[in-house]
């Protein structure tokens, strides 16, 4: 269970923008083990999708600079050619996106789009189609045969997301990257989709990298959690570490701002200030301007990794985090 599948080592991603460079991801390191659900949470714009896309080199505009290493099964994906990477995509690592309507080509049937991936493994058309139907059943698609012949717009949001899952699991990859897979869906559908992901993880032992800003999801399914803030991972641990024993001031405050109670039980905690622009790559902690415990050193020196337990660490100048 604890075999290391994906390992990021000091990953930096800079986007080239008008004003210069935007440091979207800074010095991110973590690893995902086989079969585990690893959640990356953070507020919008903190670089979650950037990490996901840079693993498979799928950043759309080709205006980024990636530094650091991405090891998959011990091999550095960074050194792969485009051609080699093509054989990783879909087969070793699958990826699903937030909005399942945009993610499916409107002019082909959903079944074809799933089969298209399967046929890359030199599978006959008929065989591929059979596999599609099976997969549809796996993802609990009602009326699988008919749905495979439907076009994306003929399906509801939940069904489309099932198609995406089927598509990305069709070649039994070892890792599934799910970038906000349920944000566009209603809560009842969200619950269904999460359930499917969980079951399939159990069945195929696929590791899942779950990207979300919804702490509810994290609490529900994640094994491990990395909390990101402005391009940096500020804290990482098991889901219980993070929820029960947050260390980093940001995580701590965030936990208290979750509406977990009723107003009669008192007001929520808030975090003042706003996220800094990430344009200049200056040293220091990026939470410094909002942190209640800020010290002089926070503004000039990069943070240090503080280990709490084997699985739990946070990046802060305070040895014990915010108390």
């Amino acid at each position: 269970m604890s075999e290391e599948l994906l390992k990021l080592n000091k990953l930096y991603v800079d986007y080239k923008v008008k004003e210069g460079y935007l440091s979207a991801v800074k010095k991110v390191s973590f690893s995902i083990n086989k079969g585990e659900i690893f959640a990356i949470v953070g507020e919008s714009g903190c670089g979650k999708s950037t990490i996901a896309h840079s693993i498979l080199r799928l950043l759309p505009e080709h205006n980024e600079i990636i530094k650091g290493n991405i090891f998959f099964n011990g091999e550095d994906l960074h050194e792969y050619t485009d051609k080699q990477l093509e054989s990783i995509r879909g087969r070793e690592i699958g990826m699903i996106f937030q909005n399942p309507l945009d993610s499916l080509n409107p002019v082909y049937t959903t079944g074809f789009q799933v089969a298209e991936g399967i046929m890359l493994d030199n599978v006959s058309k008929q065989e591929a189609w059979n596999r599609v139907i099976n997969l549809y059943n796996d993802v609990k698609m009602p009326d699988a045969e008919k749905r495979a012949k439907s076009f994306p717009h003929e399906l509801s949001g939940g069904m489309r997301q099932r198609v995406m899952i089927a598509m990305m699991l069709s070649r039994t990859p070892q890792l599934l990257i799910a970038d906000e897979p349920t944000t566009a869906l209603d809560v009842t559908i969200e619950a269904q989709i999460l359930n499917i992901i969980k079951t399939l993880r159990d069945e195929y032992n696929t590791a899942v990298m779950l990207i979300t800003h919804n702490f509810g999801l994290v609490a529900e399914v994640a094994d491990k959690v990395a909390v990101m803030y402005a391009g940096e991972v500020v804290e990482q641990g098991t889901v219980f570490d993070i929820f029960d024993n947050p260390k980093h001031p940001y995580t701590k405050l965030l936990m208290k701002s979750l509406p977990r109670k009723a107003k009669s039980e008192g007001r929520l905690q808030t975090i003042n200030g706003s996220v800094p622009r990430l344009t200049e790559n200056k040293p220091g902690c990026r939470f410094e301007n909002r942190c209640p415990y800020v010290m002089d050193i926070c503004k000039i020196k990069d943070t240090e990794r503080r280990i709490v337990t084997e699985s739990h660490f946070f990046n802060c100048h305070l040895e014990k985090g915010g108390e």
Partner: protein, 313 residues
């Protein structure tokens, strides 16, 4: 689909009626009348009344219109050309194939040239290839077709004498007009293809296709080209009637007796029946092309088959 097409045809017919009435009354508003044209300057004014009566031109607008329209509907009779003294249909019937030959060739050539160029521009956005193609096509759009036609004539027919100056009998006659037309239309097709392909390239499903593990070629042909072709074909298709009128100047300069030339001469010479008939035919063509392109779009793009439009009640 069938009901839809029938309904669209119905609307099309209504539109045709409105266009015909609009055009009819517009021409009615024009100064002068065809009889003076027919008579020429030497005929005495008193003698015109008889002619005017003979052609029914002294009747009220509405009566003339109804008469003209019923002629078309019940007898396929568009009236006679006051200038050529022949029934309008036999006049137009010779022009249509010539115009279609010109426009369709132009369309095919410019499509064949422009689509690959546009795709390349989109795929290699901001490369030197893209810049050169886009800027060249921008220069092309800035060239008025009448001027280009004259220049081409000057060079190839007057100076080099490689090609005939005018006429329309042999394929050689068509080289210069078609070149003029292609150069004029190239830019817009390139631009359309490029922007369409760029839009598609930005779509999430292209990323999905890559994420599935498809290689570049498959993604570009199966997902990008196929999806952008929908809009491109439909657009090109719909531009057919426009091309015919776009050829007005070219036909005139090269002396090709197509619809455009006929229309412009008829309007200049007050040959109203011909103008009306031409506009009606082009309108009908536009409507048919429109419906056809919707049908094609419906076939190519499954999203169109169901659509919901709302309105506040």
């Amino acid at each position: 689909m069938r009901d839809y097409v029938i309904k669209r045809l119905g609307v099309g017919v209504l539109l045709l009626f409105c266009v015909s009435f609009l055009v009819f009354s517009m021409l009615y508003l024009m100064p002068g009348d065809p009889v003076t044209l027919m008579a020429g300057p030497l005929v005495k004014v008193e003698n015109l009344e008889g002619l005017r009566h003979e052609y029914g031109l002294d009747r009220p607008l509405l009566v003339q219109y109804v008469d003209w329209m019923s002629g078309i509907i019940f007898r396929g009779d568009f009236g006679i050309s006051y200038k050529y003294r022949i029934d309008v249909w036999s006049l137009i019937k010779n022009c249509i194939p010539i115009s279609l030959k010109l426009t369709i060739t132009t369309m095919i050539i410019s499509t064949i040239v422009a689509i690959p160029l546009g795709l390349m521009c989109a795929y290699k956005k901001d490369s030197w290839f893209d810049r050169i193609t886009v800027n060249t096509s921008l220069v092309f759009t800035a060239i008025p077709s009448f001027w280009l036609a004259v220049l081409l004539m000057l060079v190839f027919a007057v100076q080099l004498k490689w090609l005939p100056l005018s006429g329309y009998e042999s394929w050689k006659n068509y080289i210069l007009p078609i070149t003029t037309g292609v150069i004029g239309g190239l830019a817009s097709t390139i631009r359309l293809t490029k922007s369409e392909a760029l839009d598609v390239l930005r779509e999430k499903y292209v990323t999905t296709a890559y994420a599935k593990g498809l290689d570049n070629k498959t993604v570009l042909t199966r997902h990008v080209l196929r999806n952008s072709l929908i809009v491109i074909t439909v657009n090109i298709f719909m531009s057919l009637p426009w091309l015919i009128s776009g050829y007005i100047i070219i036909e005139k300069i090269f002396g090709i007796p197509g619809m455009g030339n006929l229309m412009i001469n008829s309007i200049i010479q007050q040959d109203f029946n011909v103008v009306q008939a031409c506009i009606l035919i082009i309108t009908a063509l536009t409507i048919i092309c429109n419906i056809l392109s919707d049908v094609v779009l419906g076939i190519l793009d499954p999203r169109i088959r169901i659509s919901v439009t709302g309105g506040d009640k």
